[in-house]
Amino acid sequence: MRAKIMGYFLLGLVRLLTGSQARWVGCPPKAEQRIYFANHQSHADLVMIWAALPQELRNVTRAIAARDYWTKTPFRQWLTTAVFNVIYVSRERNADEDPLEPLVEALTNGDSIILFPEGTRGHADDPQPFKAGLYNLAQKFPAAVLVPAWINNVQHVLPKGEVVPVPVLCSVTFGAPVRIEPGETCREFLARARSCVVALREI
């Protein structure tokens, strides 16, 4: 109950501050298994995509959150589990633990996920090079539809180190799905996926 209220509150806050406009340019919002991947500029990215999805899809679309950051305090843990239902991943590389394991589990269950292939928040105008997780997941789950998204302007809302957000109109542009071409290597695919995301900036 409290989680629902918090969810609605955050939704209202995001709409008030950013307008959170969703632009479905390349595909419509459909209830199929999807992997959304977008540029990562601030903590508000997750809430932006989450607010851009229609209500029916919000419950089944789960975001990725770094375990070490988001389990530090009980409030953060409650926020990410009860309200957003995220998937925790550990950012440290352990030899015995596959960092993608929780993602694979979620995808096997049929959930859609929101992934930020850059790994961490970027501060330059262009996104950083994508990490290999997207490629591995796409190979393991060929049925999942990979949808690129560009989150616009959100770095102005809450830059790194600031506490008070500034109202700026933001939009999330969803592009046409990408697929791994037969014979494409990991590097090529990641570069192509990245260019798809960057291309959405111009639309």
């Binding site: 307008g19 406009q21 109109l169 939009s171």
Partner: protein, 329 residues
């Protein structure tokens, strides 16, 4: 009929006004609906009629929304109407500043603008500190905000960034705050009816803009400044001014003025409104955008909030201060 209306209490008079306005809007909506289900033989003509109706629909929807907001504001009371206009300022400023790219160093200034300057300005209106709220933004904020920006240690395009911020505040906050300030003016023998003044200003300015727009399409002439606006022509401007002022003279009964004075004040408001709209058009052309609203929507012709109220933002301070100066209030 006239004496019956005159003898109603102010609250009843304003209530009657709202009933009339809602009635007119209802009639217009029904007409639009009736026209929309009509069939045409010629396909091209039908397409033309449909697009014209869509534009009319857009105007109607905005009008319904504005009248509802005004009605709610009046029902709930002056203070809440103030908060509502504060909300309009907030959203208009958000639109304006989105399209004026800011840098990391502007964050503190922006936070101060949205969460300190805007509430303070409206709070000064609430307190009816007319002298203070007329100079708060042009003097104090003008000097203080660039200082906060300079403290952020970023000299790149410093003048440009601060000038854009200042412009946004002047138009969206200062200009808009003068509309509810009209509610606080105390004209002799005209108490509790200031809602009519707001209505007068809004109707006059909007009528002038609409008349100018239609005249520019019906009787096209050479635009004065084609690089800025293809529809700002001397003839259509004059027609718009005349129509707006005539509407003002007709509405003189709800103001504390005789028709002659109402005509003059309406003329002043229309002048400021049309000039302001033209200036905002120039700003948009400079940025290369068709409207202030979310950019994806601009292809369908739907504008943002600021596009609809920009004439009002310019007309309100001029109207307010002219009235205050002329009547020594």
């Amino acid at each position: 009929m006239y004496f019956y209306l005159k003898n109603l209490t102010p609250a009843q008079q304003i209530g009657a006004l709202f009933v009339t306005v809602f009635g007119i809007l209802l009639l217009a909506s029904l007409t639009a609906f009736a026209l929309s289900i009509r069939e045409f033989q010629d396909e091209a003509l039908a397409a033309q009629r449909r697009s014209a109706l869509q534009r009319f629909d857009g105007i109607l929807r905005t009008s319904w929304f504005m009248v509802l907001v005004f009605w709610l504001g009046w029902m709930i009371g002056n203070r809440t109407a103030l908060a509502l206009f504060g909300g309009v300022s907030f959203f208009a400023l958000r639109e304006f500043l989105t399209l004026s790219p800011t840098r990391r160093g502007d964050h503190r200034s922006l936070v101060l603008t949205f969460f300190v300057v805007l509430p303070l300005q409206y709070w000064l209106v609430w307190l009816e500190h007319f002298d203070m709220f007329a100079v708060f933004i042009p003097v104090f904020v003008f000097l203080a905000l660039p200082f906060a920006s300079a403290l952020a240690n970023d000299p790149t395009r410093f003048l440009e960034r601060n000038a854009k911020l200042q412009w946004g505040i002047m138009v969206c906050v200062y200009g808009m705050s003068h509309v509810p300030a009209l509610l606080m003016l105390h004209f002799p023998g005209y108490d509790h009816r200031n809602a009519f003044m707001v209505f007068f200003l809004v109707i006059v300015v909007q009528t002038c803009m609409v008349a100018q727009h239609f005249a520019a399409r019906r009787f096209p002439h050479d635009p004065i400044a084609p690089s800025i606006s293809s529809s700002f022509q001397l003839h259509s401007w004059a027609i718009g001014m005349l129509v707006g002022s005539m509407v003002g003279a007709v509405l003189a009964g709800i103001t504390p003025w005789v028709p002659g004075t109402a005509f003059a004040f309406a003329w002043i408001a229309c002048l400021a409104g049309t000039m302001g709209h033209f200036v905002m058009k120039a700003l948009k052309r400079d940025r290369g955008i068709p409207s202030w609203g979310p950019q994806g929507q601009s292809t369908t012709g739907a504008g943002g909030l600021l596009d609809r109220v920009d004439a009002l933002c310019f007309a309100a301070p001029v109207f307010f201060h002219s009235a205050r100066w002329y009547f020594n209030l």
